[in-house]
Each structure stands twice: as C-alpha cells, then as structure tokens.
C-alpha cells in the first residue's frame, strides 16, 4: 500500500516542563510552556504556528493556548478522544494536516495535573450511571487498573504468563529511568524483591504494575519534510501513522466480544506496517504505552514482535532492557518510571532516539516505534531518520 503521508512531514521541535506532583502552575500554563519550548527547539517563531492538535481531555483550549503563546492565525485544529489512546494520533493528525496543506507548522501536546478537575475520571463518576460504565462500575470495577487487571488475569490464565514476566517489564523501565535525569525515578532503583513484596492494587496487579501519577506537559512541532531540512534539529520523519477502534470495542472494558485479548493494537498494527517500509524485525527500539505492565506483552503481540501468547515470554532474558536486549523498550522510563502524561512522553523519547540524544540511546536505530493506549481506541507512529 502506498501511503500519502509517508515521510512527508517531520517532528522538528520538542519541549517539556519538569515532571512533579502538585506543580503550582495550571495545566494551561504548563501547556503553553511546553509548546513555547518546542517552538524554540525547532528554531521557529510562535507566529509561524498555524495548526493545533490536542487531546479532547485537555483543559486548556486551543484559543487560550494561541492567545498565550502568541501563535499565528490557526488554519487547522482538531482534537482526539479516548485519553491515553490519543498521543500518537495528535501527531498523526498534525502530520496529515501539514501534508495536505491545511497548515504549515503544527503543534501537538498534552498537559496534565493529577490534582486537576477531570484528571482522574474514575473518582468523579456520578452515582447514576448510563452507557458502558453501568456494566462494570456498580460491581466495584472502578479504576483503570481494575479494568486492565481483569484482562491481565485472563491473559495469564490462557498463556501461562506470571508475575515474574510483569516484573521484567517494571524492572526494565525502571533501569532506563535510573539513567534519565528528567525521570521521576531517576537514580531510584527497583529490585525484583521490591516488586514481589509490593502492596496489591487490583490482584493480580501490584503497585509497580501501575504507571506513575504526574503533573507536567510535553509538546512537539511538525512541519513538512522540505522545511524540516532547513531547521535546527535532525528531523524525525513521520514514516507511518495508524489509528484503530477494533471491532466491538468498548473503552477499557473490552470483554464483551469474542476475543478480548486481540486488542486495539492488532488493528492499528495492520495499517501501520502496511504503510511502512519497515517491518517489526527491523525495529530496534520501541516506546510502548505502559499505563500498566500487562499492556506490554499485549502490545508486543499486537505490533508483531512475537506471536499471540508469546508476549510475556518475550520479556525474559532482559529483552526489553537497554543496551543489550533484543528490543530496548521505553528507554526514558516510560509511564511507569519516567512520567505518566497520557503517553506523550513516549512520543518525545521516540524523537530523541532518532536524534541520538536519549539517555539510553540505541545506536544506529533507523526507525523508532511509538504506541498509544492499549485497551482504548488507539494510535501508533513509526518515526525514521
């Protein structure tokens, strides 16, 4: 299949605030700071920006961002839903808008504070539920971790996965964060004994199977490939982009279908690889969405790094660990050990791997895979040098 957007655009600027808990600045302020840094990183001016794509869950609106940062007249703007599934899609929509001429300099971003209204939807549900929540919440399946734990238990039962496999994931990402000065878990080691002794959150998942809770913001700037060649940074070309809502999808509670373990990543991967010059065997570094550790084996299978049911065993022998693993994954620490900003930090780390500036740099990586939320309508990006 020929893709109309293949290598037509590139990420040329990245920006991020510090990560923390209880940051004083508002989500709007954090968004504006990250966007401003990304514009500077690209060597562009705010007035050059004429495209905006954001998460629909974003609290700062496009008009506010544009008025604060002093952006130019905006000719393309859009929003992507479904929380953690949206990260790669905001970049992909920006790339499509630039490739089709609807705008020339697009910004995509995510700003999030755990204390902000709307940041923890599970804790704010009204008492009379309609829609999909009425089939799970009344019974105490309340939080995202409960919803994924249900899938994780079934996965472990069907394929013989164990907590040792989930520990492989948590420990690999922690090791990467230990090298990353920006990471929440910089220089804070985690041992297998720590993992196995941790308190339960939703059995079979413990504390360290969960992502962090983080305040912070990140942004990227996307321009055409032609323009990218004249800018400051080595371009990370948007080689392939895909989204998916799998058949009979239900948000986070994808149980009400024939094959709940064939999640959104399978459908997303089909388009991604068919639009790409690279195949899974060519990929030497990946940023896989990790709100919860069991999403990693599911994504390894969905994106074709192994067969169905082999994702847990894939993590053995340090396979996810930099520098010697077969697929160093979440090389900044990911959502579990760098920061959880709805997976947008994975996009920036994917760009750093192309630039050669990661604190766990994979030498000579020609392409860099980034994925968004498994368990929700999702998206993925394949960047290339």
């Amino acid at each position: 299949m020929t893709s109309a957007i293949k290598d037509r655009t590139a990420i040329v600027g990245i920006g991020q605030t510090a990560f923390g808990k209880g940051l004083a600045d508002s989500e709007l302020s954090l968004a504006c700071q990250a966007i401003s840094m990304a514009i500077d990183d690209a060597g562009l001016r705010p007035a050059d920006v004429d495209g905006l794509v954001m998460f629909s869950m974003e609290n700062g609106r496009e008009v506010e961002v544009a008025r604060n940062v002093g952006l130019g007249a905006i000719t393309y703007f859009g929003e992507i839903g479904y929380g953690g599934g949206a990260g790669c899609a905001t970049v992909g929509h920006a790339a499509m808008a630039v490739a089709t001429g609807q705008c020339r300099v697009a910004v995509a971003w995510r700003a999030r504070k755990r204390s902000a209204k709307g940041s923890r939807p599970w804790a704010q549900v009204s008492q009379r539920l309609g829609g999909y929540q009425q089939w799970t919440r009344p019974f105490g399946l309340l939080r995202p971790v409960d919803e994924i734990a249900m899938l994780a238990r079934r996965y472990m039962h069907e394929f013989g996965a164990t907590r040792e496999h989930l520990a492989n994931v948590a420990l690999a990402f922690r090791k990467h964060a230990n090298r990353n000065p920006r990471a929440t878990m910089y220089q804070k080691p985690l041992t297998r004994a720590d993992y196995l002794a941790a308190r339960w959150i939703s059995e079979p998942l413990c504390l360290f199977d969960n992502c962090l809770e983080t305040d912070g913001a990140l942004a990227v700037v996307i321009v055409s490939a032609e323009r990218a060649r004249d800018l400051k940074q080595r371009p990370a070309y948007v080689h392939a982009f895909a989204q998916s809502i799998p058949q009979q999808c239900q948000v986070m509670t994808y149980y009400f279908c024939d094959e709940p373990l064939l999640g959104p990543s399978y459908a997303c991967a089909r388009l991604l690889w068919s639009a790409s010059d690279f195949q899974p065997a060519d990929v030497r570094v990946a940023q896989l969405y990790d709100a919860f550790s069991p999403l990693i084996p599911l994504s390894l299978e969905g994106y074709g790094f192994c067969q169905r049911g082999e994702g847990a065993a894939f993590t053995d022998g340090g396979a996810l660990e930099w520098p010697d693993g077969r697929l160093p994954t979440n090389t900044s620490g990911g959502g579990m050990s760098e920061a959880y900003v709805h997976g947008f930090n994975l996009v920036l780390e994917g760009v750093r791997q192309i630039r050669g500036t990661s604190t766990c740099q994979v030498d000579g990586a020609e392409c860099s895979l980034v994925t968004s939320g498994e368990g929700v309508p999702t998206s993925a990006l394949l960047l290339r040098r």
Partner: protein, 155 residues
C-alpha cells in the same frame, strides 16, 4: 447497604429493560428480531443485520468465571469499606460471546468480600442471584458446586 454505591439508571434508554428485568429476578438480554442473535451490552442496532427491532430474552443465569480481580484501596469510599473484594466476569452458558461483570458471593444476600479469594478459579461454574440496593437489583453470582466436575475441563 451503603447508599453511595454507583448504580445504573433504571430509565436508561437502551439498558432500562435489563434493570427492570433484574428487579423481577430475571436476567434478560436483547435478541435481534431480524437475525436472532443475542447481544450484550444492549444497543439500538444489531451489528450483524442492522435491524432496529429486538426483544428481550430471559437467560438461564448460568455461566462460568472468565476472569476476576481482587480490588484493594484506594477506592471510592463505599467500596473501600468492603476491600479487598472480588469482581468477576462471567461467560454465559447460552452464548460464549455474552459476558457480564459482577461479584461472587457466598450466600444470595452475602457481601462481595465474603468468598475467600484463594478459592476463586477461572472456569468455575456459577449461577446468578439478585441483590437489592435501593431501587436497583444487581446480579451477583454463586458457585454452583454440583456442576464443578461437569464443566471443570472446559474453562
């Protein structure tokens, strides 16, 4: 029962008849009038034949445990008071494509934290019971010991 449990809306456009059914002690699912397929959760259109017509069919209320979790804090207050408690997903006997989320209880009116988590097994046969909370009856599930050997290998 704590009044702060999250409860469904009896008047929900699509699901109202399901909750009206549980209040009568019936487990109902939509069945398409065009192609006959059952579907859960309820919705206006059949994804197989696109018919807008359906009726509600009573199921036997028997199934097997497809998966389960044991929830620990932090939780919403009404639930945290019961933690750790179980939540199970049940595959219904009539149609393996139909699943419901609920809780395993030791008695028809027992709490959701009474069954020893170490005894819960994927594949275990269960049958539905109904527990009243305010104006809503929630389906819960009890182990069906007599069917253990019959379906034990199916999982």
């Amino acid at each position: 029962m704590d009044p702060d449990f999250l409860l469904p809306d009896l008047e929900d456009e699509d699901a109202g008849p399901f909750w009206q059914g549980t209040a009568r002690g019936e487990l109902l699912v939509q069945a398409c009038s065009g192609c006959g397929r059952r579907r859960m959760p309820p919705r206006p259109m059949c994804p197989t034949c696109r018919s807008l017509e359906h009726s509600w069919h009573a199921l036997s209320g028997r199934g097997t445990i497809w998966s389960f979790v044991i929830a620990h804090p932090p939780l919403l207050p009404a639930y945290q008071a019961l933690a750790p408690y179980n939540v199970i997903t049940v595959t219904l006997d009539e149609d393996p494509g139909l699943r419901l989320v609920g809780n395993l209880v030791a008695r028809p009116d027992g709490p959701i934290n009474e069954v020893d988590p170490a005894t819960i097994r994927i594949g275990a046969p269960v049958r539905v019971v109904f527990q009243r909370i305010g104006d809503i009856s929630l389906p819960r599930w009890m182990l069906e010991e007599s069917r253990q050997s019959a379906v034990g290998s199916r999982q």
